[in-house]
Every structure is written in structure tokens, then in C-alpha cells.
Amino acid sequence: MIKLQHVRKVFADANFTALGDVSLDISDNEFVTVVGPSGCGKTTVMNILAGLDFPTGGQALVDGETISGPGPDRGVIFQQYALFPWLTVRKNVEFGLRTAGVPRAERRRTAEHFIDLVGLSDFADALPRTLSGGMKQRCAIARAYAVNPSILLMDEPFGAVDALTRVRLQEQLLRTWSQEKRTVVFITHDVDEAVFLANRVVVMAARPGRIVEVVDVDLPYPRTEEMRLSPAFTALRNRVWSAVYHQETVA
């Protein structure tokens, strides 16, 4: 359970308020997408949840405890993949397990499972430079899953791949998520993606970064292609779209 209570973030040296007053509760195994224009502070929210940055006001809690730094309970997937280029897919996935001191045989078994889950079995011993963007991101997802976090934080993970690959990755992510339920906070600037994936879409606005609307997506899982083309989806999409693109400039 994630709880943001009146979180503020001011970058003092730049005299810039990244987050005004952000409050949000996310319950376990929820899939929440955060969408908003650039500069709305969505990445700041994510860094605070990851423990890579800290709020200057308010509180960020996971399971009732203040976030004090990065931890294996929260897996992070970065837009730029951030795979270790000198390690094979398998070794990348095993990285967090090795850090945690998991014995070799078990490490290998766990890695195998998640590599299989994201469909990279044939590339387990390949180096990242030989993989396509979509494959790299799947490897990053397997790596995050391997340490068994209860929360997955994803920062525009599909931002750097082409439109078709993006749709495939979305479907695959939902498949993976339905097999291995986790709390997911997924940041994106793509409205379609936000609606397609989420239980709940959080719409943010800039100057200062704040939440302007939370839209419940009451479409059932598994989400299908037909659903993507359905009137219900379109209605939700339009609602999120206007919340994102017709924001008042002043709060």
C-alpha cells in the first residue's frame, strides 16, 4: 500500500516547485498509470517512490513506513532500459538476486522463470547490444520482477520503442502482471497507453506539479484489442485526454 500525503518537492537551487501538494493512495495489486504533460512532476513522483529522491514536505509511505531509500520491495523500470551492457540477459536478471546473496542454483532457477515469462528464453545468453529496444525493455522487466518486489515503478518504459512494439509490450506487460500480480505505478505521456493498462488513471498538471483528476477504468482484464476499439474505451480515453490537454494554466 502506497500513501502520498501532501507531498511537496521544491528544488531550492533552481527555485522550482516540482510538486505542489500531491496526495494519493494506491492499494495492493492495483495498476495505476500517471499521465500528464512534461514538467508535471510525474518523474519526481516516481523518484520519490523509488527512494532516489526525497520530498521537501509531506510524507511518502509504503506499508505505513516512510521511504528512506531504494529497496528491493520496489522494483524500478527506466525508460532508457538501464541494462548492464557487459552482462548477458541472464546475468542482468540475476543481478538483484546476487546482491541479495541468493545461492547460485536458486538464482538461476528464478532468472529462468522470469526470462521465460517475458519471452526471452532464446536470448538468455545474449548481450544487451544484440537485442532490440522492445527486448531490452522486456529484459529490464524480468530483472525488476526477479527480486520479487511488491511494487513495480515504471517510468515511461515504452517511450523509446515504435508504436507497434509498444502495443505488443503493453499486452505482454498485462499478461505478465496478471500471472504475477504486483502493485504497478506506470508513468506515461501516452493517453491510450494510460487507459489501456490501468485500473486507475491519475492525471497530473504542471506548475506546480499536482493531481487534477483521477479516472477509474472499470474495464475488465484481460484487456483485448476489441476493448481498445470499444466505445467505452473511447469515452474514457476522451475524458483523460481532455483532462490532460485542456488544463487551466493557473491552479
Binding site: L52, V76, F95
Partner: protein
Amino acid sequence: MTVVQADAEVATASAPAPGRRRGVPKAVLNLISVGLGIAIWWGFSLAGHDIPAPPEVLSRGRELVADGTLLDDVLASLGRVLAGFVLGVALAVPVGFLMGWYGMVRGLIEPWVQFFRTIPPLAIIPLAVVLLGIGETPKIFVIFLASFLACVIATFQGVVGVDKTLINAARVLGARDGTIFARVVVPASTPFILVGMRVGLGSSWATLVAAELIAAQQGLGYRMQSAQLYYDLPTIFVGLISIGVLGLLMDRILLFAERRLTHWQERR
């Protein structure tokens, strides 16, 4: 960074590309080029410039090999270069890491590195002779300094340039500072260190001959200098060619190591 990329391009260019226009193989071109160079050299010598002809140099080379002089000189020079170079790299790598990792160390050491970098190692020789005498120590010291300065900058820049996202990725996977250092910073900066080593090796060789000015009894540099006194041009040529060939060989060995250790790099 530019050094790495330039090198990578050279690497791809030298690989036989199947799709490329068919022509004379590269090795043949190289051989033609070498032959042509020797022909021009011969030409100059025939034209009456005071240059010894290739056969003359070759027979002098044979003599020097036969009486063991060349081998002794090569071993003496190689010993100095390797001793200075290994010491330089062995110190440069940890210092470069510390400078890149701890801002305080960087602040303390960087002014000195930058300062000594502006002094050609050769200019240190007079000081080294006065302080360290005329034995092996000042020679090795000067070579050490040359390779240290080249390698420390490269290592430091490699560490500073490690992608912040990779460090964050390791942190969110539960890695602490020690682990991040050993398993992210070290491998990520290896390409830079290897480039630094190659540059360092180059400057070690460059410093060798001058370092052997200091009352050496043996060595390729010493041999060339004593030959100079007797107008013995063939010996000077043998010395020059030996230094070139040895330097090239050592560079190839490092290049090979670099390929093996950094084959994971995305080459553009």
C-alpha cells in the same frame, strides 16, 4: 569518449566486410605499402643522401643479433618500459577511481595531475638524475610518470562518465556502494582504462630513448646514442626499427585485450 569511438570505427573498418566492393585484400595492400616505403628509402640512399641502404641496415641488424647486442638492448629497454609502465598503471587505476568516486580526493589530487601533465616527462630528467642518481631508478621513474599521467586521466574520466541510470538501476536492485563500485563502476570504466593504458604505453616508449640518455650501459636508446658518436647510421636505423616494431607489438597486444574485455560495447 571520442577516442573510444574513433577506435571502434577503425576496428569495424579493418574487419573484412562481406558486402563491400571486392578488391585487393587489406594484407596485400599493407605489404605493397611496406615494400613501396622501403623502395623510396632505397631510392633516397642511392640518390646520395647520407642514408644507409636497406641491405646495409639488414646486415648490421644480423651482426647485432649474432653477437647478442640487440637482444640485450631490447631486453634492457623492454624491462625499463614495462617496469615503469606497470608501476604507472598500477598506481593510476586506483588513484583515477578514487578521484572519480570521491569529490574530496579529486579536489586534492587534480591540481597536481593537471600541473604535471603540462610538464613533458623529459623535462623531469635533470631533476630525477640529481635526486635519484644515475642508476635504473631515474629512468624507470620518468617512464612511470609518463604512463601514470596518461592513464590516471583516462581512468578518472571513465569513472566520472559512468551512466547515472546504471548506478540508479543497481541501487534499486539493492546494491550498496561497495557492490556498485565493483560491479558497475569498474566494468563500465574498463574501456576508458584500456584506452588510457594504450596512450600510457605510447608515452612510455616515447620517453624511453631520452631516459636512456642517463648514463645507460645498455638499451636501444643508449645504442643509438653511442652510434651517433661514430656516425654509425645503420645501427641507428636498426634501433629505430626495433623500437617501432616492439611498440607496435605491445600496442597490438593491448588492443587485443581491449577487444576481449569490452566486446559488450555497442559499437557505432
